[in-house]
């Protein structure tokens, strides 16, 4: 029983991290109607940025977020501005912009293998004084950094929600997601909004990356795992839905850790796919039925 409870808590903690990663993906989809295949790779970039910044300066990983998050925002903004925008403009009239999908999958290959070339295939991790810190409640043990990551994702998601609802830029982003033509007529510079939205989506992965490094190994293909999970989560929660992304993340985290009590990790992955396909075929708008609030 304790085992199960432990698994449930671990699942929720890790699931919130998946959820926040998926939040970035769902933001980009909600605004641009584009699936960013390089999303996991951007997370990998964020993790390496955090890793190197912390290793080289010896700064606390959570303090490093102040640098890593803006760096990732700039990275995302530039990708959108220089690479995706031109293709996007050309495919304006197309209902399903496939060029962008292919472009981002090209980016995925380039980023992952560039990281492999530069940093090698080694698994790296940051040692911090609290890496092995844990809290004990009864028989349940909660790992410190995982708990901080959970608190961080909830705080991050709430801040993001406030940003969307309260600020002018947030309103402009939502307006563009609802109807880009009308938003354009109202004086919103749509392509700038796309760049900002993409930048924020990637900044979120940078934030997640920074929260992950104290307890998760950094390596060039780390993104792939998160990429596939983020796809599963956004489909589960409904593409474009913010609460859906978080809830979907926690559901996947729970499945992963609870099913792993009974089956091997690889079979757990197969079950995740089975759920993914079932949701796609039976209820493609997401099981939670949450509408994207754009």
């Amino acid at each position: 029983m304790e085992m199960l409870l432990q698994a449930i808590i671990n699942g929720i903690l890790m699931g919130s991290v998946y959820g926040l990663t998926a939040l970035g993906l769902t933001l980009i989809f909600g605004v641009m109607k584009v699936i960013n295949f390089a999303h996991g790779s951007c997370l990998m970039v964020g993790m390496f940025a955090s890793y190197w910044f912390v290793t080289l300066t010896g700064i606390d990983p959570y303090l490093a977020l102040i640098v890593v998050v803006p760096f990732c925002f700039a990275f995302g903004y530039l990708i959108q501005d220089t690479l995706i925008s031109p293709v996007f403009k050309r495919e304006k009239g197309v209902r399903e912009p496939f060029g962008v999908l292919l472009l981002t999958s090209g980016l995925w290959l380039v980023l992952d293998n560039l990281a492999l070339l530069l940093f090698g295939a080694n698994f790296r991790s940051i040692k911090t004084p609290y890496s092995s810190l844990s809290y004990q409640i009864g028989d349940i043990i909660i790992n410190g950094p995982r708990l901080y990551a959970f608190i961080g994702t909830i705080a991050g998601a709430y801040l993001f929600h406030l940003f969307l609802k309260k600020t002018v830029m947030g309103q402009a982003i939502r307006a563009t997601g609802q109807d880009r033509d009308v938003a354009g007529l109202m004086g919103v510079n749509v392509y700038r909004i796309y760049s900002v939205a993409f930048g924020i989506g990637i900044a979120i992965t940078g934030f997640v990356g920074g929260l992950l490094t104290p307890f998760y190994y950094v390596h060039p293909t780390v993104g792939y795992v998160f990429d596939i999970k983020a796809f599963v989560i956004v489909v589960l929660g409904g593409l474009g839905s913010i609460p859906g992304a978080l809830l979907g993340g926690i559901i996947i985290g729970l499945i992963e850790s609870v099913v792993a009590q009974f089956l091997t990790a690889t079979w757990t992955a197969a079950i995740t796919y089975a759920i993914f396909l079932a949701v796609l075929f039976l209820k493609p708008e997401g099981i939670l039925g949450l509408k994207g609030e754009w």
């Binding site: 699936i35 292919l102 472009l103 489909v235 796919y273 075929f281």
Partner: protein
């Protein structure tokens, strides 16, 4: 002037190119070079097969290596267990791949665009994970992630294995031309126009009476059948199969990238894309891959990005433009030689 006269550049230029491809192994005997050519034809073959669904019908499948996997595993298992020659096992694998294409296609084709692409990845990954974690099926060992060796029979035409590269070269070259012929026939048929209509405007096609589901499934079955045969060829060429490679996501993406860079939905695009990409990626793999695994994928990705930015319809149109320019030059030369004879 007779259209099929050998003196017309419209006939002798393409014919000459084909003849050159058949003569190459007689002149160039380097196994490394021949292996590179084999890979070019192999990728071109897979991409031509993919193009029926992904290009003509516009359904971008990112999971086509499920079919190479089925083909390779079926023919290899039949060979190991029953001693059946891969020449026959190949067709068994192809039929199973076609069947699988229909089974997967049935639910997937109901989805559109990005959802469709995601569902094909989902199927591929699930299939690969299952194969990787299955050591035996009904007592027949398939050895999971470890992979299987194709039993060696030496130089044997009967068992589809050769010590030299030349036989493989001719087999895959002919396979490529068959795939090209199949796609050519489809593109000129009513069925091909149905696919084109589905790609361009699904609703319009449906309202004009095109049976959408049937056409898509038929395209998937043909594509899966051909791709399955490709899987068997790969197994016989490498004589080893494992899920990571033959059912891998990377190979599936490579096929799509070649198609996009060559020209998605064009007849020759897959071959042109393969001739451009495979040598570049193989050379980087050979010269840098030892120390830097994955460098060729950077090249793939970078070329894809460049093509998406500057040549959204692939290199096919540009290459054809140059080709027609050359043909016209040659024709003009020819008509000067035939002074007084009305060329048209």
């Amino acid at each position: 002037m007779n259209r099929f006269s050998l003196t017309s550049p419209r006939v002798y230029v393409p014919l000459g190119l084909v003849v050159i491809l058949f003569v190459i192994p007689l002149v160039m005997r380097s196994p490394i070079f021949l292996h590179l050519m084999i890979l070019i034809f192999f990728y071109a073959y897979l991409t031509l097969s993919w193009n029926i669904v992904g290009g003509f019908a516009g359904q971008v499948s990112l999971g086509h290596t499920a079919f190479t996997g089925i083909g390779a595993y079926t023919s290899t298992l039949l060979f190991i267990q029953l001693g059946l020659t891969p020449w026959i096992g190949m067709f068994a694998g192809a039929f199973l791949a076609a069947l699988m294409a229909v089974i997967i296609g049935y639910p997937c084709f109901k989805l559109r665009g990005a959802y469709f692409a995601l569902s094909t990845i989902g199927f591929l990954e699930a299939f690969r994970i299952v194969v990787e974690n299955t050591n035996e099926v009904f007592g027949i060992p398939i050895k999971g992630a470890q992979g299987m060796e194709v039993p060696l029979r030496g130089d044997s035409l009967l068992y589809f294995q050769f010590l030299d590269k030349e036989p493989y070269y001719y087999i895959i070259l002919i396979m490529m031309f068959i795939a090209l012929y199949v796609t050519y026939r489809i593109s000129k048929s009513k069925f091909g126009y149905y696919l084109l209509a589905i790609k361009n405007d699904l609703e319009a096609a449906e309202s004009l009476g095109v049976n959408i589901a049937h056409s898509k499934l038929k395209a998937a079955a043909i594509s899966g059948f051909l791709t399955g045969i490709g899987g068997t060829f790969y197994a016989q060429l490498i004589l080893f199969i494992d899920p990571a490679n033959i059912i891998g996501a990377y190979l599936a993406f490579e096929i799509v990238f070649i198609a996009v860079i060559g020209g998605r939905g064009t007849l020759l695009g897959p071959i042109l894309g393969s001739f451009l990409l495979v040598p570049v990626s193989e050379l980087t793999r050979v010269y840098l891959g030892g120390t830097y695994f994955g460098v060729h994928l950077i090249v793939f990705g970078a070329m894809l990005i460049v093509v998406m930015l500057f040549l959204p319809r692939g290199i096919n149109d540009s290459v054809l433009k140059i080709y027609h320019w050359v043909i016209e030059k040659l024709e003009r030369k020819g008509s000067h030689a035939l002074e007084g004879v009305a060329s048209r």
